[in-house]
């Protein structure tokens, strides 16, 4: 009789254990409070910490692929304020954000590449840093694209290869 009771209790215990909800497992997922976490999770990194992937990279050679990547990233992260052509009249500026300078002014034409890189990394005046969203390689791609934009503004018809001129006229 005792044995039978023991078996009943044991099988009930197993059955009840299986009721544990499979949808919630003790597995670490982003945006989920880990087991026993404090209320202020996720903890912010302490000050003066440098992110692991925030290391400088060699300046990549300018290729068509780099420029295309630069254009894509520029349109996502910079165009809302600087506009797609870089004159500083993007959508957010039209809604009241301070207007950034146009990329075509003499000071920015003469500025070294490193200046643009540093503006993306650290921000500049009212503009916040984009380091958390634009990686080091992409920053160089954006710089290359801004240079291409600047060059295009002073381009002459003579700079266009003869076989392509017709498409412009």
């Amino acid at each position: 009789m005792k044995l039978r009771h023991a078996i009943t209790v044991a099988s009930l215990a197993v059955a009840l254990a299986a009721c544990d909800n499979m949808a919630n497992q003790p597995k670490r997922l982003p945006y989920e409070l880990p087991y026993g976490a404090q209320a202020n999770w996720p903890a912010l990194p302490p000050q003066h910490i440098i992110a692991h992937d925030e290391k400088p990279v060699a300046v990549p050679p300018v290729t068509m692929a780099l420029l295309e990547r630069g254009q894509q990233r520029f349109d996502i992260y910079c165009a809302p304020c600087h506009s797609k052509i870089g004159d500083g009249r993007g959508m957010i500026v039209q809604r009241g954000f301070p207007q950034p300078p146009s990329y075509y002014i003499a000071r920015l034409r003469d500025a070294p590449n490193q200046h643009f890189y540093d503006v993306i990394t650290h921000g500049y005046g009212a503009m916040y840093s984009y380091a958390d969203r634009v990686g080091a390689e992409d920053r160089w791609a954006i710089v290359a694209y801004i240079r291409a934009l600047q060059a295009s503004a002073s381009a002459q018809i003579a700079d266009v290869p003869p076989d392509k001129r017709q498409t412009l006229q």
Partner: protein, 216 residues
């Protein structure tokens, strides 16, 4: 004394009816309730600490999804923007809006905002955003017309049958890669057909419904 009284027939009929009713009720419970919108939380629109509007920011201002959901192309998770991202704009505009008070408070106290999840899968399901983006599945195929939502609303059931309905035949859900982030994309006459896109992206649906794809 008779075993069955004069009202035995009545009792029997009532009992039979009740049993039939009970069985129907059970069947409804098993087959209908699970597919009801209430259960799947389809159209569920949770209250958020800040009434963030994709309609305003995406359709109104023309922001790209990746401005905020930075990691969607490269990782399993799309990523929810940190306060820093909101402040790139709201440090200068709408700085006194009552609606944005929790954002400013979160910045001042260094405490992240707690958004309520809209889409969430059980822990035993493996999902990855990057592969879907790389193969030309647009955000709106799964998240509905999010560019028109003043508050984020769950657009699908997230049932296994929903995943499988696309994995068995992805062709009608594919689009050119440069349109993946466009919330208003429509197929036009000169869009390559689903078949052509399947070939271009090298998609082989034969293996896409193997259990191990999503349960690993």
């Amino acid at each position: 004394m008779a075993i069955f009284g004069p009202r035995a027939n009545l009792f029997m009929n009532v009992a039979l009816l009740a049993a039939a009713g009970g069985v129907t009720f059970l069947l409804i419970l098993i087959w209908v309730v699970p597919v009801m919108g209430y259960n799947s939380q389809e159209r569920y629109t949770p209250r958020q600490p800040v009434p963030f509007s994709h309609k305003h920011h995406v359709s109104g201002l023309g922001l790209d999804c990746r401005y905020c959901h930075t990691t969607v192309e490269i990782s399993q998770n799309a990523g929810i923007p940190p306060i820093h991202t909101c402040m790139t704009c709201h440090s200068q505009i709408w700085t006194n809006a009552e609606m944005l008070a929790p954002v400013r408070q979160s910045l001042a106290e260094g405490k992240p905002l707690r958004w309520t999840r809209v889409y969430t899968l059980p822990d035993y399901v493996y999902f990855d955003h990057s592969i879907h983006i790389a193969k030309g599945v647009g955000c709106t195929e799964c998240h509905g017309p999010i560019g028109d939502m003043p508050l984020t609303r769950k657009a699908t059931t997230l049932y296994m049958s929903w995943c499988l309905s696309c994995h068995r035949d992805p062709a009608p859900h594919l689009r050119p890669k440069d349109q993946v982030f466009n919330p208003h994309w429509q197929r036009t006459a000169d869009t390559p057909s689903g078949k052509e896109l399947m070939a271009e992206y090298h998609i082989h649906p034969e293996t896409l419904s193997d259990c191990g794809v999503c349960h690993r």
